[in-house]
Amino acid sequence: MRQEATSYHFAQMKRKYQWIRGTEILLWALAVALFTFYCCRAISIAPTIGTGIALTFMSITIFVGSARVHLFSISEKDLAMYLNRHYHALQESADLLIKNDEELPGLQLLQKEKTAQQFDAIYPTIKLPHHMGRAIGIFGLSVVLSAILSAFSNKPCASVEGSASKKIMHVEKGNLPIKIKGSTITIVPPAYTQINNRSSLDFNLKMPEGSNVVWDITFDEEVLNPRIIFSGRDSVSLTKIGAGYRVEKTFKSSVFYQLTWNNVDSSTQYSNYYEIEVIKDRAPTVGIDSLNQFIVLNEKDNLKINLNARLTDDYGLSRAKVVATVSKGSGEAIKFREEKLSFDSPPKISGKNVQVTKILDLLRLGLQPGDELYLYIEVEDNKTPTPNYTRTETYFIELQDTSSTITSIEAGLGVDLMPEYFRSQRQIIIDSEKLLKEQRSITKENFNTRSNDLAHDQKVLRLRYGEFLGEEFQSSVGPQSSITAADAENAGKNPHQHNGSASYKEASPLDDFVHAHDGDEEATFFIESIKSKLKAAVTIMWDAELYLRLYQPKKSLPFQYQALKLLKEISQDSRIYVHRTGFDPPPLKEEKRLTGDLKEIKNSIGEEKKDHAKQYPNIRAALTAIEKLLPKDSLMLSQKQKDILTKAAQELGELELKKPGAYLKTLSLISSVIHNEARSIEKKNSLLKIRESFWKVLPQETMTPQSRSAATHDLDLQFLKNLERSNL
C-alpha cells in the first residue's frame, strides 16, 4: 500500500517538474521570438521573413531548453537523486522508494520503510528545481524591448539615400528586357508623405506625386548611348557609373517610358513600354456636421453656434481656419469685416483625419440685429512647396432685425425714392391698432372715415410697391374723397377690377423723379425670389386695404402684419442683390423705336470653310495598313508601313497620358512589330490586338446623310426622257 502511494507521489512530482520547466522554456522561447521579430522589423525586413526568423529562433530555444533541463527524459531515478541531495531526512535512501520490495534484502526493506515514513512527512514541502522568476523576467524584458523596437520599425526616413541603401531589391530577372543583366529601381517619395523609400521589382512603377526615381541598370554586353524615352517624346541619357548606368528623375504626372540603347554594331534596340503611374496628392476634404447653410436667428435665440467638422487628407493636414465675414449696414453703406478664426479643438491641425470644433459667439463677432455672418472653412494639407487647398461652401447666419421699419425696398438699389408723406406699413398698423382702441369713444362716421383714410394709405403704399413689379396702372397720391359704399362693395367682390377707375389714369408726381420703364423691364431688376415676395406682399396689401374699406380694421390687421413681414424679408434680400450686380441698362433711343426704318439693313454674306477633319488621322491610316497586311502570309512591314505605325503610336501615346495604363500594352506591341522582334505568328496576333485597340480609340460619331451614286445606262436615260415627255 505504502509502495503505491510513494510511486504515485513520484509520478506527481515528475509531471509537476515537466509543467514548470515546460512553461519556463516557453517563456524563454516567446521572449526570444518577440525580440527577434521586432529586430527584423526595425531593420525593415519584410514581416513574413521576420516571422520566419522569429519562429526559427523560438524552435531552437525550445529544443535547446528541453534538452538542457531533461524535460522529456527525466526519470524517477533522477528525482530520487535530487531528493537525496537536497533532503537529508531521507538519509540518501530515496532511491529505495522507487524499487520493489521483492528486490530488496531485509535490511534495505527496513530502511525503505523508514525512508517512506520520512518521505511522507516531507512530501508537501518538497520544492522542485526551476527558474520561473528568471524566465518571467526575461519575457517581460523582451516585451519592453519589442515595444521600443516597434517604435522604430515605421519611422519615416529623413535621409533618402541612407534608407534606400538599406533595402535595395533588384528587379526580377523575368521582368528585365533582353540584354539587361540587372536593374535596381529606387523610388524616393517626397518627405512630407512620410512614405518609406522602396525598390521596385518591376519596371512598371506606381508612386506618389513628386517622387524621385533612380534607375541603376547594368547590361549584358557593351552598349552605346543608353537612354530612357518618356512618353515617346523626351529622352534622358543614362550616366555611366562603374559597370552600370544610372539616371534619376522626379515625376509629377503619369508617363510611360521605354529603354533604348545602341548596340556595338550600331543597331538600335528598344525595350517594351513601361508605365509610371503617379498617384496625385488629393486636396483635403471637409465635412461640416449638422449645420444648415442658411440660418435665421432672433435676438432671443442662442447666439452661440457650435461648428463641428471632419477634416481628412491622404498624407496629412497642416492648417485649417474658419473664415467669417460679418456684413453690416444697409443700402450703399454695407460694410464687410472678415476674420480668420482658429478652431477651439484641436489647437494645432495635424494628422490625416482630424475632428475640429469651434463655438462661434455671434455677439463676440460683433453681430447686431440685421447683420449677417458668412462663414466657410478653409483647409490646407502638408504638400510642399504648394499645399493643396480646399474650402467649403459659404454658410449664412442672419440675425433678424424685428424692430426697424422698412419704408422702402430701394435701399438695396442705392437711391431712396420714397417721398416723406408715405406712410410705412408699420405706421398703418399702428394707426389701425389705435383706431380699434378708440372705436368705442368715437362716432361710427368718424371711425369709418379714419378706416377709409387708412385704406387710402394702404392703397398708396400698395401702388408704390406695384410700380416696382411693373404693374401698368398708376394712381394719384394725396387726399382723396372717400369712396362710396358701392365702390367698396365692388372692391370687395373683385379687387382686381380697377382699370376703370379714373383716379388711376392721373399722372403720378413721381414721374419727374423716377426713371420709368415698362413694368416688365423694371421688374427684371429683381431676382426671382424678390419678385415673388413683392407680388405676394402687394396681393396681401389688397386684402388689407379691402377690409379697411369695409370699415373692418380688425380683420385687416393680420394682412397688414403679413405684408410687413414680407417687406422686411425683401429688404434683407435686396442687400444681397446690391452685392451681386450693379447693372445700369443703356437708355433706348426713343426716336428710333418702332419706326420700321430698314435703310441701314443690307444683304449680308457669310462664308466659312469648315473642314471638320477626322480625329486620329494616323490611327485611321494605321488601321487601313494593318487590314492590308493581315491577309498576307508574310508579315514583313515596309518602311512606309512602319512610319504609319510609328505616327499612330505617337497619337496613342498622347491618349495613354490622358488615360494611364490603358494603351501601354498596345504601344509595346507596336514597338515589337516595328522592330521585327516577334515571329510571324506572334506578329499576326500582335497586329490583331493593335487593330482592336486602334478601333476602340476611334470615337463613335452620329450618322450623316451620304451622297449616293449609281451608274446610269443609256436605257435608263431613255426611259427618263420618255417619262418626262409623257408628263409634259
Binding site: 444683304n603 454674306i605 470653310k609 487590314e627 450618322m703 446623310p705 451622297s707 446610269t712
Partner: protein
C-alpha cells in the same frame, strides 16, 4: 461472259477443281441411292461456289445516258432513279465515292460526255464545268443541305457610323449554340442558335472607319466550333451639295445647317430678311449667285431645302428650271406643306388635316413627341414614307423622274439635339435627306456576278456597265479581256482567276474600282456548296430523253442465284441418304 475476280483466278480455279474431283470421288464411293443425281448436285454446288467467288458478268446493250454522282449525293435517291431508269449508266466524279459499279469520270472528259449526262445528283458541278455543257439538258437532284452558313447577304455599300446588318441562314445540326460577329474592335453582335436545321439570323455592326475590314463569324454549333472570315467594305463619307432657300430664318433650319456643317457638307443658304434684303451663307462652298434658280445652278446641287413662301415667290422661269432639274435627279425637300394649287406639281401629296399640332414618332427604340404641321400625308403607292405614325406620314418622298420631292412635317426637332440626344436627331434627319438627295452618276459600275465566296484559281465572272466605248478593266494591274453583251450596248463581261487569297482590286480605265476578297480554301465551304447547287438548279433543263442510242454494257449475274443453287445442291446431298 466476264468475271470479276477479287480473289486471284489462278488460286481459285485449281483449288475448286481439285476439291470438286475429291468430293465427287468420295461421293461415288458412298452406298446411298441417287448416286448420279448426288454427283450432279455436288458439281452444281461447286459451280455455284465458284460463281460467288468470281462474280461473273455478261455483255449487253444499254442506254448511253449517264447519272453523274457528285459529292454529297444521296444513295437512296440514286436507287430510286435506277428503279425507274434501270438502263441509265452510273458515273462518279473524281472526288466522289463510287456507288454500284459506277465508273469514274475525269474532269477533262466531261465536255466530251456532257450531252450524255442526264441526271446530276449531289452538290452538282462547279460553274466553270457547267460552262462546258452546251445544252445543259439534265436534271439536277441536290444532296442534303450542308452544315454551316447556307445563305448570306451583306451590303457592298456599308455606310460609316451607321448600324449595318448582315443576314444569313445557318444549317444547324445540334440546335444549340451561338453565333458571334467580331470586327476589328472586338465583338459586335451575337445570337443564340435555338433550332435544328435552318436558322435565319441578323447581326448588326457599326463601322467606325472606312475601307476594307475583315470581320469574323464564330459559330459554336453543339460541340463543333468554326470561324468564317467575312470581308466587309465601308464607303468613305460623300458629302452633299445642299441649297437652302428660305423666306425667313428659324432656329430649326439654322440648327439643321449647323448639323450638316459639322459633317462637312457643302451648304449654300439664302434667308429672306425683308422684301429686298437677303442673308447669304456659303459653308464649304465658293460664293455663287443664287438670286435666280437656273438649270446650271441646280445641276450642281444635290438637295434643295425650301419652304412654302419661297416656293410661292418663284418666277415661272425658275419653276420650269426647278421642275426640269428635279426630273434629271435633283432632290426637293419642303419644310412646310404647300396648299396652293399652282404649286401642286412640286407637292404631289394627298393629305388630311388634323386638330392636333403635335406628333409622336418612334426613332430607334424611343417614342418622341414633336410639334408638327396639322397636315398629314395619306399613304399612297407613290409616296414612300420615312417617318410615319398612326395619323399618317410625317416625312417621306416621291419620285419625279430621276429626282425626288420630299417633305418634313415635324417641327422644332432641334430640341432633340439640345437635350443631348444628337444620335436621335441624326437618325431623324439623315435617312430623309439621303433618300431625297440626288444620286450621283458614275461613269461605270463593276459587279462580280459569281456569288461570294471566291477562291484561289477559280474563275470569277465580272460585269461592267459603262457609258464609255473604250473601256478597259484591270485586275490587280493586269489587263483583262472584255466581251460586250450581244443584246445590250455598254454592258461588258470579263473573267479572272486569282492566285492568292486576300484583298484584290478591279479597276476600270475611267477610275471606277472595286475591292474584293478571295477567301482561303477552307472558308465558307457550306455557302459555296449551296451556291453551286443553286447554279446547277438554274442551269438544269427539265425533260429526260429515254430514246437515246444504246451502247455496250456489262451486267453482273446476281450472286443470289449462285447462292440459291448452292443451297439447293447442298440440301439435296444432305437429304439423299435419308430418302
Amino acid at each position: 461472259m466476264f468475271v470479276n475476280h477479287p480473289i486471284p483466278f489462278w488460286l481459285i480455279t485449281p483449288v475448286v477443281t481439285v476439291l470438286c474431283i475429291f468430293l465427287v470421288w468420295q461421293e461415288s464411293k458412298k452406298p446411298y441411292r441417287f448416286r448420279i443425281l448426288r454427283i450432279i448436285a455436288l458439281i452444281l454446288m461447286m459451280l455455284a461456289l465458284t460463281g460467288l467467288l468470281f462474280k461473273p458478268s455478261y455483255q449487253t446493250k444499254k442506254s448511253a445516258n449517264i447519272i453523274l454522282l457528285t459529292p454529297n449525293y444521296s444513295a437512296i435517291k440514286v436507287d430510286s432513279i435506277l428503279v425507274d431508269h434501270p438502263d441509265l449508266m452510273l458515273m462518279h466524279l473524281e472526288q466522289t465515292s463510287p456507288y454500284k459499279n459506277s465508273t469514274r469520270l475525269f474532269q477533262e472528259d466531261l465536255p466530251e460526255r456532257a450531252n450524255e449526262i442526264k441526271i446530276i445528283i449531289g452538290q452538282g458541278l462547279p460553274r466553270y464545268l457547267l460552262d462546258s455543257f452546251e445544252a445543259k439538258a439534265f436534271h439536277f437532284i441536290p444532296g442534303a443541305s450542308p452544315e454551316g452558313i447556307t445563305n448570306l447577304f451583306v451590303s457592298n455599300h456599308n455606310i460609316l457610323n451607321r448600324k449595318d446588318t448582315i443576314t444569313a441562314t445557318l444549317n444547324s445540326t445540334d440546335g444549340k449554340g451561338w453565333i458571334k460577329l467580331s470586327g476589328p474592335g472586338g465583338k459586335e453582335d451575337s445570337i443564340a442558335i435555338k433550332n435544328k436545321g435552318q436558322n435565319d439570323f441578323e447581326l448588326a455592326f457599326l463601322p467606325k472607319h472606312s475601307g476594307e475590314h475583315l470581320y469574323s463569324l464564330l459559330i459554336h454549333d453543339g460541340d463543333t466550333a468554326y470561324e468564317e472570315i467575312l470581308p466587309l467594305t465601308t464607303d468613305q463619307e460623300k458629302p452633299l451639295q445642299i441649297l437652302y432657300l428660305l423666306s425667313y430664318p428659324t432656329f430649326e433650319t439654322q440648327h439643321l445647317k449647323s448639323f450638316l456643317t459639322r459633317k462637312n457638307h457643302s451648304i449654300v443658304l439664302r434667308n429672306q430678311l425683308s422684301k429686298n434684303n437677303f442673308r447669304y451663307e456659303y459653308v464649304n462652298h465658293d460664293q455663287i449667285r443664287i438670286d435666280r434658280l437656273t438649270l446650271a445652278l441646280l445641276d450642281n446641287i444635290d438637295l434643295l431645302i425650301t419652304d412654302g413662301e419661297t416656293m410661292s415667290s418663284l418666277s415661272p422661269t425658275e419653276k420650269a428650271a426647278l421642275e426640269k432639274s428635279i426630273f434629271s435627279g435633283l432632290g426637293l425637300l419642303h419644310l412646310t406643306p404647300i396648299t396652293s394649287k399652282s404649286l401642286a406639281e412640286f407637292f404631289p401629296f394627298q393629305g388630311t388635316t388634323l386638330k392636333s399640332d403635335t406628333a409622336i414618332v418612334k426613332i430607334g427604340a424611343k417614342s418622341l413627341s414633336f410639334p408638327a404641321s396639322k397636315l398629314r400625308i395619306t399613304p399612297t403607292l407613290p409616296t414612300i414614307p420615312v417617318q410615319k405614325n398612326k395619323t399618317g406620314i410625317l416625312s417621306g418622298y416621291t419620285f419625279r423622274g430621276a429626282g425626288k420631292v420630299g417633305f418634313q412635317l415635324l417641327q422644332e426637332t432641334y430640341t432633340l439635339a439640345l437635350s443631348g440626344d444628337s444620335i436621335s436627331y441624326a437618325e431623324l434627319w439623315s435617312p430623309l435627306l439621303e433618300s431625297i438627295s440626288r444620286s450621283r452618276s458614275e461613269p461605270s459600275k463593276i459587279r462580280i456576278i459569281t456569288p461570294f465566296p471566291w477562291y484561289e484559281n477559280e474563275p470569277i465572272d465580272i460585269e461592267i456597265i459603262s457609258s464609255k466605248e473604250n473601256i478597259s478593266l484591270t485586275a490587280d494591274s493586269i489587263l483583262l479581256p472584255l466581251k460586250e453583251n450581244v443584246s445590250f450596248d455598254n454592258i461588258w463581261s470579263a473573267r479572272t482567276w486569282v492566285g492568292t487569297h486576300g484583298w484584290h482590286l478591279l479597276e476600270t480605265s475611267d477610275g471606277t474600282s472595286l475591292r474584293y476578297y478571295v477567301s482561303g480554301p477552307t472558308e465558307w465551304k457550306s455557302l459555296s456548296i449551296i451556291n453551286q447547287q443553286n447554279e446547277n438548279k438554274i442551269s438544269a433543263r427539265p425533260g429526260l430523253e429515254h430514246h437515246s442510242e444504246k451502247i455496250d454494257s456489262r451486267e453482273e449475274i446476281p450472286p443470289l442465284i449462285f447462292y440459291i443453287i448452292f443451297l439447293l445442291a447442298a440440301g439435296f446431298i444432305w437429304l439423299a441418304p435419308k430418302l
